[in-house]
Amino acid sequence: MNDMRIVERTVDSHQTKITARGVQVYYGEKHALKDVDVDILDKTVTAFIGPSGCGKSTFLRCLNRMNDTVAIARVQGDIRLDGDDIYDKRVDPVQLRAKVGMVFQKPNPFPKSIYDNVAYGPRIHGLTANKAELDAIVETSLRKAALWNEVKDRLAESGTGLSGGQQQRLCIARAIATSPEVLLMDEPCSALDPIATAQVEELIDELRSQFSVVIVTHSMQQAARVSQRTAFFHLGNLVEYGETGQIFTNPKDPRTESYITGRIG
């Protein structure tokens, strides 16, 4: 517990970006997520923690409707982005996902060049009018992902040739190239070594200035280091949700306390 540097930042009174009420998820017969209510604030890093299989990744995948791509998944309840129901029939998941970007557990660069990886989103969404604009977006995104200096001379090389940490930062650059409003990160550091993890964590902190970031993590230390708000999930239930400092120092629920002190998990 000693290495937990609780972030000494209070949460500014940001407005709510996403509100979720009564969310239930079923995978076939399995009731994977039970009645979750969460408000996610703008320009804040929110961490979802909890033991394996507790439903935190499932909930994350509800926020950009990635569960739609799993045939047996069924989502109920109300999730609103800026007040608009994202499960409304009129909402196009394609457009939703441009606004709510996602970074995955394992780096998954496309087997294309570094440039094409980052440019892919802006291209399909038609965000640029010409090559110069696209070049600018690629450069800013790579700079924001702290990768530009490492790859600026080999943008034409394949993205799969980078190291694990670089690949993950490339995936982050790819996700922020479409200027999403929310960035979902599903255990983004679990496949990385400590140095790469530190780089990505630093990056997450920087990203907070522009996006609302939601990060699922296995590591309490990481949650403590990067997030301002933390939600603890257990067995498909949202047990406790609040400011990170409060969750880690003064949890209200005994289950949270047990998890944080390492008695369940």
């Binding site: 950009n64 990635m66 791509t69 045939a71 394609v94 457009q95 939703l96 996902r97 441009a98 970007g101 996602m102 995955f104 394992k106 998954n108 660069p109 496309f110 087997p111 294309k112 892919y120 989103g121 399909i124 969404h125 995936c171 790819r174 996700a175 479409t178």
Partner: protein, 458 residues
């Protein structure tokens, strides 16, 4: 006779089993500690008798016919066969055989009847000899097996050793088959190149394999340049792929990305039915339905469509290849890791964009491997082209024209009577050799691509 020999063999094997087992049992009853169970002693004896004797009978059956033929022909009055080529000799032998079998046509020469009687005598003798030797061999092995029974004899290990040897033999059948294919093709091809220079075959642009009417006419008039034949094969292959590749790929994309699980469950077996239809059926389909339809189409539009147009054979071959390509593409698309698909979808790509921009490029090696295998199939496909393509070799790449293929030429050259010393017959083997090399090369390349691709994502 053969049946009796086999019965004898099995009886001896069973006898060996019973004898050795009871011998082992009586040893045990006498208080001895046996290394192996008595049934293993029996099993060892049965195997020891069975394997060599079986091998003996098979070898005898394989070779006795040609030995008898040689004896018969060798015993003919001196000078009878002088000046006859091997075709005529074969004819005489066939006649002698049919006389020996009791089928007499017309009134054959006395020396033929005499030879037939000798042949019949040899046959009876050979059958008795085989039976006698089989019995002798089995008996000898029985005695040897019986001698082995002793407390220390490791019957289980020995029996398992024999079984392992049998299994190794089974595994080597595949190698023998390959050796047999290569040996027979090379052997006959070399003989062909002794009659026709190899460069004429490889680089010649005329293919007119004519039956030499007189012996001194060998290949003087015939031309054996394989290029037009191979070109015809390529034309039909290209037509087939032109049809099959887009349809196969698009079907795979639809099934993989858009189809509901229920539709997929119904559509995949239906496509597999197309793959299970024998090619002779496709050939008849081409002749019965597709060729007349194309002819009518040609008459309506004024296109010069030849009666045996390469289009008909190519189209039908394309239908045959659709399931092949679609299942390869389906596998290749499914093998792309889910993470890549998720990555594209999470950026807001539509399903079509995901497939075309991300999945498809990633699956290209697997798909290319599948298409190459399809090419090799199309080149080696026989019945469709035998029934629907032409016989005349032309240097043309016009798919509306009539072309011939390597396989068509092999079949037409070899259907009917074949004697192994006319260039016409041997040319078929030379074509077969080229076919084997080309398809083998493509297959090896394709399998390598597919394997490499699998390694990337495993």
């Amino acid at each position: 006779m053969t049946l009796i020999a086999f019965l004898l063999l099995f009886a001896a094997a069973i006898l060996g089993y019973v004898l050795n087992r009871s011998a082992a049992r009586s040893l045990r009853a006498g208080g001895a500690q046996l290394h192996s169970l008595s049934t293993f002693h029996g099993g060892f004896a049965a195997l020891l008798v069975l394997v060599p004797t079986f091998l003996f009978i098979i070898l005898w059956l394989l070779f006795h016919a040609s030995v008898l033929d040689r004896l018969t022909m060798g015993g003919l009055p001196a000078g009878t066969l002088d000046g006859l080529d091997s075709g005529a000799t074969q004819l005489i032998l066939a006649e002698i055989k049919s006389i020996a079998g009791g089928r007499i046509f017309g009134s054959p020469e006395p020396w033929k009847i005499e030879a037939a009687e000798r042949l019949a005598g040899y046959r009876a003798m050979s059958a008795n000899l085989m039976l006698g030797l089989t019995a002798l061999l089995a008996l000898g092995l029985l005695v040897i097996a019986r001698r082995t029974v002793s407390p220390e004899f490791r019957a289980r290990q020995r029996a398992e050793g024999i079984i392992k040897g049998l299994m190794i033999f089974c595994s080597s059948v595949a190698i023998f088959t390959t050796i047999g294919i290569i040996a027979s093709l090379v052997f006959e091809t070399v003989r062909f190149f002794q009659m026709v220079p190899w460069h004429e075959f490889l680089f010649g642009t005329t293919w007119e394999p004519q039956m030499p009417i007189r012996a001194d006419q060998i290949a003087a008039e015939g031309a054996f340049g394989w290029l037009p034949v191979f070109l015809g094969t390529l034309v039909i292959t290209v037509v087939a792929l032109f049809f099959a590749v887009p349809i196969g790929l698009l079907s795979a994309i639809y099934l993989n990305e858009f189809a509901s699980p229920r539709f997929r469950k119904f559509a995949k077996p239906v496509l597999e039915v197309l793959a299970g239809v024998p090619t002779v059926v496709y050939g008849f389909f081409a002749v019965l339905t597709i060729a007349p339809a194309l002819r009518t189409f040609g008459e309506m539009t004024g296109l010069p469509i030849a009666p045996n147009t390469a289009m008909a054979a190519g189209l039908v071959m394309g239908v045959m290849l659709i399931p092949f390509i679609s299942s390869f593409a389906d596998d290749a698309l499914s093998a792309v890791p889910r993470a890549l698909r998720d990555g594209a979808l999470a950026l807001g790509a539509t399903r079509a964009e995901t497939v075309l921009n991300v999945l498809f490029p990633a699956a290209i090696p697997g798909i290319v491997g599948g298409v190459l295998l399809a090419v090799s199939r199309a080149i080696g496909e026989t019945m469709i082209v035998v029934m629907a393509a032409g016989l005349m070799a032309k240097m043309t790449i016009n798919p509306l024209d009539s072309v011939t293929t390597v396989t068509v030429q092999i079949v037409t050259l070899l259907i009917g009577d074949t004697s192994f010393d006319s260039p016409k017959t041997l040319a078929a083997f030379a074509l077969g050799f080229m076919l084997f090399i080309v398809t083998l090369g493509i297959n090896v390349l394709a399998l390598r691509i597919v394997h490499k691709y699998r390694e990337i994502y495993d």
